[in-house]
Amino acid sequence: MSAAWWTSFADAAAAVCLLGGSFLAFAAGVGVLRFPDLLARMHAVTKPQTLGLVLVLVGLALRLRTGATVWALLLVVVFAMLTAPVAAHLVGRAAHRTGRMSPERLLVDELTRDAHTDDD
């Protein structure tokens, strides 16, 4: 009784997590297609990339329910959380240095300000 309740609950929670993660992947596609600027596209990309991946992998772990796969999926999640900021930082810095962004869309531009104070 209790085991059957647990498996059905885990399957339902897995379905909810998979739906949320897939919706975030869809939102990332919409954002990367519709947003006007490289930095705006990065904003649309990096957040669903982390949270959507976490939701999909939590859903998969709730569906598989074995120890080794849960640890491997935890490894994937930790790796995504470690690498997504690094990749976003590198892409944003390269865009700023090679002039592939529109400065009039920015509210705060601390990198240009720091570069000018370095020149002075």
Partner: protein, 146 residues
Amino acid sequence: MTVVVWICGILVLAGGLMAIVRAEIGPSILDRSVALDILVTTLVAGVALYAAIERRSDVVPVLVALSVVGFVGSVAVARFVSSEPPGEGRVLTRWEAALAKAIARAQEWASEDLDDLDTDHQDTDRQGTNHRGTNHQDTNHQEKTS
């Protein structure tokens, strides 16, 4: 569960297709890199959906490998990107390639004509200086003799 996975698959497929469209029209290489990052993420989500509906735990190493490769590709592109004028990284259409080739050929012909003109000028200049030099020597000679 099957209905849920079908809906999820359609959403992930739509996201991946939009990322491919952005990778095709993206004006710079960084836009394409970001779009391909999204494509890798949707690929991971698709493999995870397959593993969820089939209850297969042997495709989990595929997820690990895909996440590692996606990170390395994005970082390598961002590290070695160089500044280029806008529109430089775009693949030309057939008509634009023919136009660029015709412009290059016309410039080649024009530069050949200019080279001909320059050599003509140099010849006349050299003759002029020679003529003047001989004149000078002749006058010197005349002064000495007189």
